[in-house]
């Protein structure tokens, strides 16, 4: 940790005088890295950290940005997605933020990125060993809907008291005949801690399991960091007679024809005509350039 040299080098590279490399000061980064190390050591456990004020509002990814700022290095290649897309306001702003304050290379290609910050999706292209994915998390506590008191949820985690969590599934099945929770579907990490995967679609849950990439989760408002180290088992909650399944749709992507990816529904005229396209823009584009449909 050599703060002064880092500072000068960074400002030279990015042209933002007076700001440290990747915006956060080195002491804050060290504190956050300590929290990350602890989170990696206890998969799925929510580690409190002293969240900093970031130059954007809560709910826009302050947790993810702090994690990214603490682990990003000069050689990293950064990709930022929001709902799978590289070109939405939030993704563009965060990508620019790090391009300016850290001077790192950025990309939209999942395979070329060493560090991916995401909101609400995991890329369709399978992640590789050596990659790190950082999730922005609004509500890190999966038990919150059941129990509003933080002291009580912590005790439930400590005692592994996760039976009541299944009530959510029970109520879904009793009411609709199937589990209808479509995003932020609760998971057990490494057979010990119940974890909120952030509001990713249920379709993405299997991608968490035994992923070769390091997965980090940052919640800025709630000031919690948690992690899934590479190759860790992540099991979505289910009943023996109602095993976990992902949804299927009859539509395919209107651009690239993909039938296996998560699709966005677009209303394209005043008569309510709908069209479906991949939410993962990089996946869609790479299929097109590789000679997919059209």
């Amino acid at each position: 940790m050599n703060a002064p040299t880092t500072k000068t080098a960074a400002s030279a590279a990015s042209g933002t005088n007076g700001y440290n490399f990747a915006y956060l000061d080195e002491q804050s980064k060290r504190m956050i890295r300590r929290a990350i190390l602890k989170a990696v050591a206890i998969p799925g456990y929510q580690v409190p950290f002293a969240g900093r004020e970031m130059p954007l509002p809560y709910g826009w990814g302050t947790g993810g940005i702090q994690v990214t700022a603490s682990i990003i290095g000069r050689d990293d290649v950064l990709k930022v997605i929001d709902q799978g897309a590289d070109d939405t306001t939030n993704a563009v702003s965060i990508r620019k933020f790090f391009a300016r304050t850290a001077g790192v290379r950025t990309t939209t290609r999942t395979a070329e990125a060493s560090l991916i910050q995401t909101r609400h999706r995991i890329p369709e292209t399978p992640l590789q060993a050596g990659q790190v994915i950082v999730f922005q998390v609004p509500i890190p506590e999966p038990l919150r809907w059941l129990e509003p008191r933080e002291t009580a949820t912590r005790r439930m985690h400590a005692l592994g008291d996760y039976g009541p969590m299944y009530l959510k599934l029970y109520e879904d099945i009793a009411r609709f005949g199937r589990v209808t929770t479509a995003y932020d579907f609760p998971t057990m990490v490494n057979g010990r801690y119940l974890m909120s995967p952030s509001p990713i679609p249920r379709l993405d849950n299997p991608k968490l399991d035994r992923s070769p990439a390091l997965q980090l989760f940052g919640a800025g408002r709630e000031k919690r960091i948690y992690a899934i180290p590479p190759h860790t088992t992540v099991k979505s909650l289910d009943f023996e007679d109602h095993p976990f399944t992902t949804e299927r749709w009859s539509h395919i992507c209107a651009r690239c024809g993909a039938g296996d990816s998560y699709l966005d529904e677009l209303v394209i005229d005043d008569r309510g005509t709908r069209s479906y396209v991949c939410s993962d823009t990089d996946y869609c584009d790479s299929r097109l350039s590789a000679g997919g449909r059209r």
Partner: protein
């Protein structure tokens, strides 16, 4: 039945508890046998509920022992156990029926989920089984099983109380602690609930500690009776014996203040 029946299920010795300077329990000792119903009566503030909460583990006593014979771990002192040990050792051997069903139920979830929760706590992960058991228990406590998906918020007070009882009995406890289970219900509903309780207690061979200030309830349900005053047990014995021939002035006052029994 077996040897099991000849050892006490619960033995409380020299239990004491103070809240700050206020002494609420002193020198409490009691023994409860499997399948026995013990009523604790006394005026408000005499320490009945605190005693129940000490046994139930919600309140830690200052001194004394609460020896409980668990199914799988032999006799343990409940006063010494940490919360995680308590869960492991006692599991579902012990139930607690609150005076107000709203304290013991999740009002926003369905009746089925309320009965299913203790089963989930005990590790059952089969939706169909949970549903089957929940529906059986609704019938046992005289609630129409078709109402399994309704939230208890839509039930009457008596139904809520019966649902709470079903929720406590579904895992087959050996001891159930009841804090004024008939409080706040009108007389006809009370009578029905008492009938139901009497039947369940006999069918399931349950041991019950029943806290009440209603001597009629005690007379109907309890084998033995204990009278508490100012944090002490002042009189105890067979229910009929205590009620028909009260020795202590306070007990005499209590019995004579009831119009008819």
């Amino acid at each position: 039945m077996n040897l099991d029946q000849h050892q006490p299920l619960l033995e409380v010795r020299d239990l004491a508890k103070s809240f700050g300077d206020r002494r609420v329990l002193s020198d409490i000792g009691l023994t409860l046998w499997p399948g026995e119903v013990l009523a604790i009566v006394g005026e408000s503030g005499s320490g009945k509920t605190t005693l129940l909460r000490c046994i139930g583990g919600q309140v830690a006593p200052d001194a004394g022992e609460v020896g409980f014979r668990s199914r799988n771990h032999g006799t343990v002192n409940l006063a010494d156990l940490s919360e995680s040990q308590r869960r492991r050792v006692i599991g579902s051997d012990l139930g607690y029926v609150h005076q107000n069903p709203r304290d013991g139920l999740r009002l926003d979830l369905s009746a089925g989920a309320n009965i299913g929760e203790p089963l989930l706590q005990a590790g059952l992960r089969h939706y169909g089984r949970i549903r089957e058991i929940a529906s059986d228990w609704l019938a046992k406590v005289e609630i129409d099983p078709h109402r399994i998906d309704e939230p208890p918020a839509r039930f009457s007070g008596g139904m809520q109380q019966r649902l709470q009882i079903a929720r406590n009995l579904v895992t087959g406890p050996r001891l159930v602690l009841m804090d004024e289970p008939t409080g706040g219900l009108d007389v006809s509903v009370q009578a029905r609930l008492l009938d139901l309780l009497r039947r369940l207690v006999a069918d399931l061979d349950l041991a019950v500690i029943l806290v009440t200030h209603d001597l009629g309830v005690a007379r109907l349900l309890a084998d033995r009776l204990m009278v508490m005053q100012a944090g002490r047990i002042i009189e105890s014995g067979l229910t009929d014996q205590v009620l028909d021939d009260p020795h202590q002035p306070y007990t005499q006052l209590l019995v004579s203040s009831v119009l008819q029994l």
